[in-house]
Amino acid sequence: MFRRPIARFVPDGTRISFMRGRWLGLATSAVLSLLSIGLFFYPGLSLGLDFRGGIVVEARTQGPADFGRIRAALAAQHVTEAGLQRFGGPDDVLIRLDAPAGKDAGSEAATQALVERVRTAVSQAQPGTQVLRADAVGASVSSELFRNGLLALGISLLMILGYIWFRFEWEFAVSAVLTLVLDLTKTIGFLAVTRFEFDLVMVAAILTILGYSTNDKVVVYDRVRENLRKYRSMPLRELIDLSINETLNRTLGTSSTVFLAALPLALFGGATLSGFAWVMLFGIVVGTSSSIFIAAPILLLLGEKRLRRDAQSAAPVRARPAGN
């Protein structure tokens, strides 16, 4: 174990013809992404506190939480529209409230006053109750956080596009970003199905997935670029297949280590981080498979005429020498 490696994903010289299944891959991806977009509209994402505004109070009661008594105590404080939810153990309770509507709509002060009433009610309902967390986000802040989150997503997609364009050819950049958009829609669909709350931490998860997925594609592209120079007359389809196969052990290896690193977080990370970690795990699987089944076929479609146009005339390949 300490000298030679004792395990490997695929033997050397593996030649799987991934590009033969390119239409199947693209079609599956398109269907999944369309379904996800459908899920985005119905039932939609469950927006977290950051983006929806309102109040979340998490409390730990002594002994099992008695929802009836907590509801009664809340009603005594004139808080009627609270959602109660078990959270982790039987003595953990989560109370949610939307930002006040009606005459107090949009009033930050009303939201802030409400959180104190909830806090009081919860501590009175059962003796010995501990308030673990009490968050209140006003409407102006939540819409701003949402805007910033989307802005961060948009700008990082653009920067990735720009960087790959700069380092490779535009076909690479466009196929990478198209694939990332497909990855992104699937992640949104995953969020809609699992009902994990979409909040700032999820935006961070999605951005990390995008970063990881890009990283994975860059490694394959890097090999494609190298092989374009090396095998001047090989058709692009074979060349892409060759490049994927050559990097397959690396692709699977790195996705495994990232997966293994994120797995404990999903299992033991506690309620705050496990949603984040599950989304990461989903993203790692999607990002890895999309490098092979989506990004490469799109590159083949975009580049078949262009990247190999010189091959027939046996003229030197016009690849940018930036990678050296």
Binding site: M1, F2, R4, P5, A7, E58, R60, E108, A109, R119, Q130, V131, R133, A134, D135, V137, G138, V141, L145, N148, L151, A152, S156, I160, Y163, I164, R167, L200, V201, A204, L207, T208, G211, Y212, T214, N215, V218, D222, T247, R250, G253, T254, T257, V258, F259, L260, A261, A262, P264, L265, F268, G269, G270, T272, L273, F276, A277, M280, G323, N324
Partner: protein, 517 residues
């Protein structure tokens, strides 16, 4: 690629050693004052985060109100008349119609002579409908707003310091926001109440003979009593003594009644004004107004030359102490509204640290086992580099005294997963070169060379994404982005320099003909 000068070797080892040393203060205290520690974020140690907005609209309106007052008094002083004197908040102006067209020119000259707060603060102009407008310049309002936010931060700091909070952080965010972080304060209610009070105290004469049922005549305000909002009292708008002229205020019990009260002392200007007012208005009621509510309106019993007085108003000990604190710290220039609050209890923080540490430990072990299994000796070198990576990440975070949050711990974990990517790239490359028939030396050389450009490319894209996240993210997300960004940099060091150094040293010692790939 296969040669490390002694200097370079020494430098790489030195960096690792310094990193190790920088980590130590997080676990044990060291002598000397320059050691730095990672700060635990509020989500890990428990505490409160308050985001507040300074109400700049109110600030502008108040400035216009006082300007209206000034205009009224200036015109009356010169015996000039006016109609429809009003403040136009949208245009930042005070407008009125002259009593008769003959007075127009004199009105203008009186307005021109008004002292502004700065040069060009005020402009006088004629409106098409015959009204005269006195407009505040946008620049002066902006300056006033900026000063108000800085001043608010100062006052917030004084108020929070007075509550005895440990290690509070008060920072400005954007144009009109203040972030207050209070470690260890898991119920911010008291602080919120303290900060939500403007604490603008003024002394006014009561407008006698004015009915509180009708709209107030000009120059008179109808205000509620603090104890009973339904009870109204009419007071002169004019401020006779300003509470900003206080030099001290403290809570105490009245020696005769035993009631809680706040004793205050005025500065010399305030003392003189107070003496004059009390002398001129003996036997008349005098109202003490706090944030547009009348605390009390006692009848002036005698001249008060000393400038010290007592406020009584059905206080309990807490309220009296708070009021004294607020008066000492000074009034906020504009109201503050809490727009976001996050409060985390200490037990949740401890749970999170445990969960984070367990995940980090298990994740590290899993990655180490994978690398050993799949890459043999070079995998173990990668694991050594991974350990160094963890150490360096902690070291850099300590050096910057960065704040570690729960998402930050998640970021460290993901960095560990991604960090071995570079080693995997190098190893796979070396393996390919060996299969192509290169010698051990040639394969290692080519492996390092070819893999480096891929490593730089893939890390650069990851870096871009996380720098974006840091710039546009707020709160916990920034912590996550920060650790990953630092992690990418330390990863480049440990993989491109350290683990390669280990492999090169191994080669130099053993001179193997076969590589363990």
């Amino acid at each position: 690629m296969m040669y490390y000068s002694r200097l370079k070797t020494a430098a790489v080892i030195a960096v690792c050693f310094v990193g190790l040393l920088l980590c130590v203060p997080n676990f044990a205290s060291l002598p000397g004052g320059f050691w730095r520690q990672i700060h635990l974020g509020l989500d890990l140690r428990g505490g409160s985060y308050l985001l507040m907005r300074v109400d700049l609209q109110t600030l502008a309106r108040e400035r216009l109100d006082s300007l209206t007052d000034t205009v009224r008094q200036a015109l009356l002083h010169d015996g000039l008349g006016y109609r429809n004197l009003r403040t136009d908040v949208a245009a930042n102006a005070v407008t009125f119609t002259p009593r008769s067209p003959d007075e127009h020119d004199r009105d203008i000259s009186v307005l021109r002579a008004l002292p502004g707060a700065g040069p060009n603060e005020l402009t006088v102009s004629d409106l098409p409908d015959g009204r005269i407008a006195l407009t505040l310049s946008a620049a002066s309002l902006r300056n006033r707003a900026r000063d108000a936010v800085s001043q608010s931060i100062e006052i917030v700091r004084r108020r929070i310091d007075a509550t005895g909070a440990v290690d509070p952080s008060i920072t400005r965010q954007g144009d009109d926001r203040i972030v207050v972080e209070l470690p260890g304060v898991s119920d911010p209610d008291h602080v919120k109440r303290l900060l939500g009070t403007t604490a603008k105290m003024t002394f006014h004469l009561v407008a006698q003979g004015v009915s509180t049922d009708h709209p107030a005549p000009p120059g008179v305000d109808i205000l509620p009593m603090q104890n009973d909002p339904k009870a109204l009292i009419a007071v002169q708008h004019h401020v006779d003594v300003d509470g900003a002229d206080l030099t001290n205020a403290r809570a105490g019990q009245d020696s005769q009644t035993g009631q809680w009260a706040v004793d205050f002392t005025l500065d010399s200007l305030g003392t003189r004004q107070f003496a004059e007012i009390t002398r001129a208005n003996l036997g008349k009621p005098f109202a003490i107004v706090l944030d547009n509510k009348v605390i009390t309106a006692p009848v002036i019993q005698g001249v008060i030359p000393s400038g010290s007085g007592q406020i009584t108003g059905n206080f309990d000990a807490q309220k009296a102490t708070d009021l004294a604190l607020l008066l000492r710290a000074g009034a906020l220039p504009a109201p503050l509204t809490v727009i976001e609050q996050r409060a985390i209890g200490p037990s949740l923080g401890a749970d999170s640290i445990r969960a984070g540490a367990i995940s980090l430990g298990i994740g590290f072990l899993l990655v180490v086992a994978f690398m050993g299994l799949f890459y043999g000796l070079f995998g173990w070198y990668a694991n050594l580099a991974l350990l160094a990576n963890l150490v360096l990440m902690v070291a850099v975070l300590s050096l910057f005294q960065a704040t570690l949050t729960l998402p930050g711990m998640a970021g460290m974990l993901l960095t560990l997963g991604m960090a071995v990517d570079a080693n995997i790239l190098i190893n796979e490359r070396i393996r390919e070169e060996v299969k192509r028939g290169r010698t051990a030396l040639g394969a290692m050389q080519a492996g390092f060379e070819r893999a480096t450009s891929t490593i730089v490319d893939s890390n650069a894209t990851a870096l871009l994404a996380h720098v974006m996240l840091f710039v546009f993210g707020t709160g916990p997300v920034r912590g996550f982005a920060l650790t990953i960004t630092i992690g990418i940099v330390t990863t480049l060091f440990t993989t491109l320099l350290l683990s390669r150094l280990l492999m090169v040293r191994w080669y130099a010692l053993r001179r193997p003909t076969l590589l363990p790939v």
